[in-house]
């Protein structure tokens, strides 16, 4: 009977379960980390009430969100209203399948890993748009409109900044890219492609709606952007999705530019997690420092600065490779 079930199906199902656990755990750790770092920056202790040093605070938040009454706002399109959070969280799971956490820790070793991730992160835009439209709220509609144009605009420099790496390594397989880089920091691609790294990081911030670019959920202008009408698990799913995408973005950055699981002493998954968490800390740090960019400036930055720089960087790389 066991042979009847093909091996890859088992691998994928175990992988999916592991990814779910990883996302859940990561969300908890990240929520705690974000509130603690925000607290320390603002010279206040951050959560310390629930559990020793506030460790259980994220769990408490989760329980509160789950406990909230589930209701659909009057006039909202019930089906779409409840579909949006699901569409938002689902692609995040798939993205983790292709990420090589360690030399042996990879669920699927496909040679189109990078394309898979980029494709699935694109679906998130659809989820936010549906959420904005379905909750029948003017502010949510504005938030959704903003999010569409922002994500579409920042998709292009994201791809353009990845292409130099692809040309250098010649493959889309994340495992090969990661192992292609040497163990020592000066062998990583960040040294060869510093400009691409900066562009990619900025686009990652924009894709996941993080602070300087968090216009779709701008509290002060649109009261809460696309998830104005969501409370309880609806909001919880969006929250989880945002953190999941943050982790996906920093994983891809770590793989492409910081040598994935390669580390000076003994390369393994712990190097990979360390790099990911350093990147996440930087994202959090940026969030608590900068005001929000205005909407048309956001697009100007993308069309007038990031795309020309990315193209220029691509040409320079091609020239170097060609010679």
């Amino acid at each position: 009977m066991i042979e009847a079930i093909p091996i890859p199906l088992i691998v994928i199902s175990v992988g999916l379960a592991a990814t779910l656990a990883f996302i859940g755990l990561n969300a908890l750790v990240l929520v705690y980390l974000e509130r603690k770092v925000a607290g320390f920056i603002q010279r206040r202790p951050g959560p310390y009430e629930v559990g020793p040093q506030g460790i259980l605070q994220p769990v408490a938040d989760g329980l509160k969100l789950v406990g909230k009454q589930i209701f659909t706002p009057t006039g909202a399109d019930r089906v779409l209203y409840w579909l949006a959070p699901m569409i938002s969280i689902a692609p995040a799971l798939v993205c983790f399948l292709a990420i090589p956490f360690g030399p042996h820790l990879q669920i699927i070793n496909t040679n189109v890993g990078l394309i898979l991730i980029l494709a699935f992160t694109g679906i998130n835009v659809l989820a936010l748009c549906i959420a904005g439209w379905a909750s029948q709220n003017k502010y949510a509609l504005l938030g959704a409109a903003r999010d569409i144009s922002q994500s579409v605009a920042y998709e292009i420099p994201l791809l353009l900044s990845i292409l130099p790496i692809i040309f250098m390594t010649g493959t889309f397989n994340l495992f090969d890219i990661a192992s292609g880089q040497g163990a020592w920091p000066w062998q990583w691609y960040i040294v060869y492609q510093p400009l691409a790294f900066v562009i990619f990081f900025i686009c990652a911030l924009a894709e996941t709606n993080r602070n300087p670019f968090d216009l779709p959920e701008a509290e002060s202008e649109l009261t809460a952007g696309f998830h104005t009408e969501y409370s309880g698990m609806g909001f919880g799913m969006f929250f989880l999705a945002e953190y999941a995408y943050m982790v996906v973005a920093s994983c891809v950055t770590a793989i492409l530019f910081l040598g994935g699981f390669q580390g000076p002493v003994a390369s393994g998954w712990w190097w990979f997690l360390a790099k990911v968490y350093i990147l996440l800390l930087i994202m959090i740090w940026i969030r608590w420092t900068y005001p929000r960019v205005r909407f048309d400036q956001l697009l100007n930055i993308c069309w007038k600065w990031l795309i020309p720089l990315a193209v220029f960087n691509l040409l320079v790389t091609l020239l170097v490779i060609a010679i």
Binding site: Q42, T74, N211, D214, A218, E219, P291, R294, F295, D296
Partner: protein
């Protein structure tokens, strides 16, 4: 029992009044009264085309408490706590306006030391008001950290004032003919320490925010208010000084001992939100300058006029007394008929005139800019609604 789930889009009185000239492709948006960036309960009806505002009309009255009727019902002494409730950010200036109006009507002269104490406490309160404006403005623009730094300093100022006045926000400290409590050496010493600390904090504020590239982009060339519009709408205070006119009641109509200190009036003629922002930041430093001069020249003597009437019955008269508040010129038009409560007390709130020019300035700007302009006008809605 069919539950009518359709949205009732009938809208209320003001929305209908706003409605008739609506084009079909625009959206009527209610910004407020429960909106994070309208400080307090201000409601603005916006007609927006995409993100651009076509027409904006503020709707007031959500926190209207009819202070002017209270003045006519209560005696002068009983009305003392009210002015600090109209504008709780700069409560001492409002208290000064009420007390000053009566002193001018009765010809009551205030001892030197009381005048100096009033100047010191009023300037301290102005700094704490500007600090809260600075934090809240940055919160509107999306930066969450500066408000915590602003509150760090504000709490210290409030601690200093609490020891003497007895309260932290709505001070009821000034009395007819002086102040209700004398200041001691510990107050003076703590104020000097805080003034010194504020000077080097200003450098940190400048690094973190004033020079910040994103903030400059969000604030420069936003909300152009030419000087003539300010004059037409009667805007005063930092809004006016941000448009190039150095008009400050402390210098234009010198009251109390303000003519003894030399301080300059910070003015920027860029007419935009950045100009107003820089005016308030410099004004904080000027206030520190005034406080230090006042502390150095603090005379001895009694802190309240020995025969100050606790229950004043002023002569018949009609008096106008103006004070420079954090938001502009605070005026009290007091008409007395000789009884122990005013015949009519008209409160002139600077925020009222500053906000009235918003519907003209907000034509054709983005919503994000509207929030930035509202922040730069430093609105306190209870003062506007009175």
């Amino acid at each position: 029992m069919s539950l009518d789930l359709r949205l009732d889009t009938s809208g209320d009185f003001y929305a209908n009044k706003f409605q008739p000239t609506k084009r079909d492709d625009t959206l009527i948006l209610n910004m407020g009264p429960q909106h994070p960036s309208t400080h307090g309960v201000l409601r603005i009806l916006l007609e927006i085309d995409g993100e651009y505002i076509i027409r904006a009309e503020p709707v007031l009255g959500y926190i209207h408490r009819m202070h002017e009727k209270m003045a006519e019902v209560k005696t002068y002494a009983q009305y003392l706590p009210n002015p600090s409730r109209t504008d709780y950010l700069h409560a001492l200036a409002w208290g000064w306006a009420h007390v000053g109006a009566l002193e001018r009507l009765m010809g009551l002269e205030v001892p030197e030391r009381a005048e100096y104490i009033r100047v010191i406490t009023c300037e301290l309160n102005r700094i704490s008001s500007h600090l809260l404006w600075w934090g809240a403005y940055l919160l509107d623009l999306g930066a969450f950290t500066p408000i915590m730094y602003a509150f760090d300093d504000r709490e210290r100022i409030q601690d200093i004032l609490q020891r003497i006045t007895g309260s932290r926000l709505t001070y009821c400290y000034y009395r007819f003919g002086g102040v209700s409590n004398d200041i001691d050496d510990r107050f003076i010493e703590e104020t000097r320490v805080q003034c010194a600390r504020m000077k080097e904090r200003a450098k940190m504020f400048k690094d973190l925010v004033t020079d910040n590239f994103i903030l400059r982009k969000r604030v420069e060339e936003i909300g152009e208010i030419p000087l003539d519009t300010c004059r037409k709408y009667g805007a005063t205070g930092p809004v006016l000084r941000g448009s190039g006119q150095a008009y400050d009641t402390r210098r234009a109509e010198p009251y109390s001992v303000y003519d003894r200190f030399d301080y300059n009036i910070p003015t920027y003629d860029t007419c935009d939100a950045m100009g107003r922002y820089l005016v308030r930041m410099d004004e904080m430093q000027e206030s520190i300058n005034i406080i230090e001069q006042a502390l150095n020249g603090l005379p001895e003597g009694d802190f309240i006029h020995p025969k100050a009437p606790k229950r004043p019955k002023p002569p018949v008269g009609d008096v106008y007394f103006a004070v420079e508040g954090a938001r502009g010129k605070i005026g009290m038009h007091l008409v007395s008929d000789g009884s122990n409560s005013p015949y009519r007390l008209k409160l002139r709130a600077p925020g009222f005139s500053n906000l009235s020019l918003f519907s003209e300035v907000a034509q054709g700007i983005l919503i994000a800019d509207a929030v930035s302009i509202l922040g730069s006008l430093d609105l306190v809605i209870p003062e506007i609604d009175r």
